[in-house]
Symmetry: D2
Subunit: 306 residues, 4 copies
């Protein structure tokens, strides 16, 4: 099946424009609450390096939890298999910031995409790099083959000032011996890499190695093919907070969502896709971006489930 | 990539034969505890209708929870979308027979593959069919294009006599209004369809529609393609009890496991696979069958994740 | 301090009459939902055998969970210390019918007053008596020194028809080996003894042994003094469902409540008190009866806490 | 009944000396782990101001959680009823440092004696006093009518260095808006007042107001009689961590325990008692001190339950 992705993106953007606005932007920190709610952008990067765009595909937004994916890839490069002794790979069945399972499982987070898991990943980066948030940023620059992406310092500061829940999670894991650095330093790095601002087009390009057996278009190997399969599996089972099952059911692709309204999706062997729109559902996932990806997967016939 | 599946199965069977025996057979009911532990069988059915075999691929075993898949497909055919008002589609993060989430979520099971969800599915079948277990059996006969598969009455009786945990779950859901039939009748049907005995080859053949957009090799449509994608997504996120994430990570295919030691896996668009060996790990999944599927997916390059 | 209990009861009844009606009668079974809501009765029985009354103190009502106290006393007489191997003595921190802790604690109920614990107690009675509910009734007759108290058969039947939640709890404990009889028989007995109908005056008289070191006024020893102290301790820590702490805080006496609207309270060494009014708060405890007991304890200066 | 308390204490001390040593001293912080394990002291202070002693009744030990009682009394004096909007009065059914219920109940601790509750109480003191730990200490001096009690600075520092679990709880409540101060300052104050060192005799004397309707022997009113009844009720239902029910059952008195091995008990209207011995059971309560109090309550006939 040959699909005209450019045309398909326009169709979807037009459909999304007709949806009644639902949901609200993330308001737990002032800096995020100021975003204009009714924006929509989408970009598709194919493994041959072509990028298609629709809507505000080049407007940077706060990538938030999508940065967990880059942080994880970077930590895996440095730490290898040893990382999996400190973090699990199972869906959690509870909200992203719950402490209940963490108590039952004695400080080992269920997976690297719940906040607890991402904090352990960040703790690893704090051990490996003097400036862990710069390391994530430079890793992203390497993926893009160019610099220019930055951290929104105001978002980072605002997030850090409202980080009691994550501080609770970090101290809790530290009490079980599963956080080695100082909690304050880990939170600084975490809030900073979550405050990276990127556009849909940049995110789709940066994540292409996940669609291409671990290599970026120029041929640089980022991760082994086996590790990339595992990351895609984790995105599928755990990438959309407590809606991962529903996303697999509706979209049928590995995804990673962020409360900034972005959703990144991978079609293994073929392309990476990013959609963005700030209004969120109760799980913290973008309503319009999820709808756009569901539509895209159905119309392009790219579900990994048949 | 052309793969000689017959040769690959022989290689894997030879490898599995060298593994030290680990784990124990299911012992919670006497009838299951009597199985000879060190058997191994495997079968691959490709969408063009060819079946490859290794080991005891034609020996029938108790399919147990794999029957939840056939029961669900049958219920979906009859009930359609309405089914999803009574059962969710999220991984549970808790063991297959836990009541904790069921209490928090007021009687709506997390997904159709935890026991609670399969009991709701069976309740639907009890409403739709006078003899619900026969309906499941005949559905399987239809999938195979021949009769000959049966229910092991001794296993069914033994299971029914040890069904207090499932009775607890059923009464619990009934107290929330999410079980409509009599608990005893639902348990009778549930224990009976879990006691269906099939071989690896039969299971692989019967499940081919899941690899073929909803049609059996002869062309009969069993489910819509969209529903099949959803079933595969559910198998991936919820099919291996509380090890679904690990299975996705290691094997990279939709699977459904049973405490009889069978594991069914789907390669969308290409084939269905069944491996069987009775010794189980702590999650209730067959150790050797999982290892065989992991090996097969890696060597045949059929992971859905790249 | 000499207190004119008769006058005090009249004062309290007059005060209660001025309260705005709040809360609703128990409606989970039709037979209970038919009670006239705005009744209030109260009785005090002192250890010298005098009974004081106010309001509808002689109108029988469904004692519901208050029967757990009589069932427990009877089971303790027969089973002795061995009973405490099957049921704990800690407050639960969860609603009376929760299964969460029961799962964590592998089928051992937290205390004999949550439903799970009372079902274990009833299971003991089923082993010891051919007609366990008659045994409870005859035990009450013995305490009163006269017959005349009966089981409301309609309430018992109605309760039995709506007993899915308790059936879930019973099967759940049976799956852990902590229920030995048939679930149906245990539920029959449980629903029957909960459907005993008694008046405030009868309840206060029947419970006098708990205020008198284990002996009824005539001198008959019912339980050892040490066991009575323990029952009072259990009533204080666990007798008012998930509001036990609040009751201890407000009333300062061992109590046992029932969804029929009755509350029994013990003043060790001095008296037993029963108040009744059908409207319940969110915890299932009578609002007016609790207010009356709080007032009584304060005005009579009988708190065990100083 | 006249009891020779002095003789009774000697009898009990002699009995305790024959017990096989069981349990271990608290080892979670080095400063506590160094205590000599096989010490036993006990003191009884009667409301007429007489103090009886046995064993090492005048050796100071780390009072640990017993300080929660003094902190609570002081906070109640300053904050009054408003305190109960921020902390509940129900037993928790979970270990003293669990976060599970705190998540379910959105940051409102179950009672003031679980760590979460004591942190809220300390937060109140941080708002009311420039040096909250000194305020607790001076409150204790006031109760004793003399200074001389101090904070063990090494224990306080050691505790503060190992306070990740409490930091998690504090940040967690702060994320729900139920902690107003800076977490670091609240933990400083909390670790300091828990590190107060007192002897059995001093503790029994300091707590006499709880046995005497709120007044110390000299006649100074510390709290209203109604508030004292409430404190005693809280001690009974929540004072011994997750063993409160068992303590009520065995000892029958309001108690407050600490991991330093001390247990304080109140006989309303008559006396306060303190026993101390460092070896702890799995709940963190002193084995020998609990046995001594059980024996004392039985032999002196002072249970509040009859």
């Amino acid at each position: 099946m040959t699909v005209d992705y450019a045309a398909l993106l326009q169709t979807i953007a037009a459909e999304v424009a007709t949806l009644a606005p639902e949901g609200a932007v993330a308001e737990y920190i002032p800096a995020l609450a100021r975003v204009v709610p009714d924006q929509f952008g989408m970009a598709v990067a194919t493994v041959d390096g072509v990028v298609h765009r629709a809507g505000t595909a080049d407007v940077p937004f706060s990538i938030q939890s999508i940065s967990k994916l880059f942080a994880l890839a970077l930590a895996l490069r440095r730490e290898g298999e040893a990382l999996w002794r400190r973090v699990g790979r199972e869906p959690s069945g509870t909200p992203f910031n719950s402490l209940v399972l963490l108590e039952r499982e004695r400080g080992i987070p269920r997976n690297p995409f719940v906040n607890a898991g991402a904090l352990v990943v960040t703790d690893v980066l704090c051990r490996r790099f003097l400036q862990p948030e710069r390391a994530v940023l430079e890793f992203v620059h390497g993926l893009l083959g160019r610099s220019g992406v930055g951290i929104d310092a105001e978002v980072a500061r605002s997030e850090r000032r409202h980080s009691d829940r994550n501080a609770a999670i970090a101290h809790f894991m530290r009490s079980f011996g599963n956080l080695h650095g100082e909690v304050g330093a880990v939170l600084d790095a975490y809030c900073a890499h979550c405050a990276i601002a990127m556009s849909c087009a940049e995110l789709a390009e940066a994540a292409l190695f996940l669609a291409a057996d671990g290599c970026q278009p120029g041929g640089t190997r980022i991760l082994e093919a086996a590790d990339v399969r595992r990351l895609n599996a984790l995105m599928l089972t755990c990438g959309a907070y407590d809606a991962a099952g529903d996303f697999a059911f509706r979209i049928g692709l590995p995804t990673k969502t962020g409360v900034g309204g972005g959703i990144l999706a991978i079609v293994p062997g073929r392309m990476s896709i990013c959609a963005w729109s700030p209004r969120l559902d109760a799980n913290g996932n973008s309503i319009a971006a999820a709808a756009a990806l569901e539509r895209f997967a159905a119309m392009a016939g790219v579900s990994i489930f048949g």
